[in-house]
Chain length 236, copies 2
DNA sequence: GTGTTATTTTAGAAGTATCTAATTTTTTTG
DNA sequence: CAAAAAAATTAGATACTTCTAAAATAACAC
């Protein structure tokens, strides 16, 4: 019920260091996200997520290590240093604030904000970040249910599980949907009412990756296995 | 495969061609602006405006020429091709829409939007451009009085002269102030009421680059020579 | 019109981020 | 545990944008 909050010392940002390379920020963000699933993060996971060849990931990881943004052990994996985490969280804060701003202030759909936020996140100034946060009244979550890190790096931690793993008759609500999901899937989910906050109760999970029968905000629905692995729910 | 041999038809954007290099857009924008004063544009003017060495400008101009974005004659100068002008106008449209949006929607001062718009202009999608234009009700001028090109590249042409060149007792109004002017000067000008639309009548221009005595919106003011060369007015 | 000066271009290098191909290290499997 | 497979790294190349230094060209001055 009470979200766990981790506070980080506001590390120096790349901007403050005079470095502002999109690639560096993208790698740090990627490593941060991948570490949520498994840490340390392997070169191949980074390469797959960034859509580059493993050799490119190795090269960039070595560069990040030389900048003291990651701890790197050959053939083993990477973890973020405090400095690296601070930058990752700043970029993620930008990304999520932008996603929310684009939906709230500019009429974008939740299925079309990811790509635009992915480029804007690297170029907004501290002042613009602050103004956007102010207009949105310092929000805590983006349109996909992802928590927005505070300026000091504090980020709400919500314990979730995939809808597919929810026990039958266990009341829960939708917490997050990956913002980089297929836009078509996001529109499909919205059509079913499966957006953050929706109350769900699973009634049946068919075997062999079969369909999930559930109730969404009081309405009966059936979704496929793949969809049910993407939707993250929080038990009540 | 040589990725630098591409044909750009007029009206096509770099994005549509899969090219999205900030540097190219910046050079085209610079050449467009410099050509308003004098065309063809010399290498040294481009270098000075972009704050790079002349050798760098030559190199980039040759690249632009190979992309058919400029017409280039060695030791003579560059002009934009239709394709180059189309891209320049698109980027300028982005820049000016963004400057206005930042002031109108996000509370920025007219002295602090240039830098932020300079980076955002390269990364906003067609859709975001359209949404911003819509929110602003398809404006024709930015906060500095610069005309905003339409989507098809049409741009209002206003005949202006520097305030310094205005005849005494000739009624005029402020048309434009360079958006890349020193922020301090912009704040100073705003303090004097010298913003786009202000009605001005010069009563005296002192010799030897001396002060200009004038009336701004009914109030007597005195400004220096340097300031009076920056403010562009339109005779009524 | 010739010599001097200023401008422009060329040549060659560096730094970033990516790639392919080859090699090395780790993991898996029989 | 040894062979095979998978993963990761190194080596060397390319593209982009900039630089410095040197060479070529144009403009100017007398």
């Amino acid at each position: 019920m009470s979200p766990h909050i981790r506070t980080l010392t506001a590390g120096s940002s790349l901007q403050r260091e005079g470095l502002n390379h999109q690639a560096i920020e993208d790698y740090l963000k990627t490593i941060y996200s991948l570490a949520e699933t498994e840490s340390p993060v392997s070169t191949s996971r980074v390469a797959a997520a960034r859509q580059v060849k493993p050799a490119s990931a190795t090269s960039m990881i070595q560069r990040l290590a030389s900048l003291n943004l990651v701890n790197y052990e050959k053939h083993y994996g990477v973890t973020l240093t405090e400095a690296g985490r601070a930058i990752a969280l700043e970029v993620i804060r930008h990304h999520r604030l932008l996603e929310l701003y684009l939906t709230q202030a500019l009429g974008f759909g939740w299925d079309e904000v990811h790509e635009q936020a992915d480029v804007l996140e690297h170029v907004i100034s501290e002042k613009l970040e602050e103004r956007i946060a102010a207009v949105l009244n310092y929000p805590e979550f983006d349109p996909h249910g992802d928590p927005i890190p505070a300026k000091d790096g504090a980020i709400v931690s919500v314990t979730t599980r995939p809808l597919i793993a929810l026990a039958a008759d266990q009341p829960a609500h939708v917490a997050r949907i990956p913002d980089d999901a297929n836009p078509e899937m996001l529109r499909y989910l919205a059509g079913l009412g499966l957006t953050p906050g929706a109350r769900v109760v699973v009634s049946d999970v068919a075997p062999f990756d079969g369909p999930i029968t559930l109730n969404v905000n009081g309405r009966p629905q059936v979704v496929g296995h793949k969809v049910a692995t993407q939707v993250l729910v929080e038990v009540e």
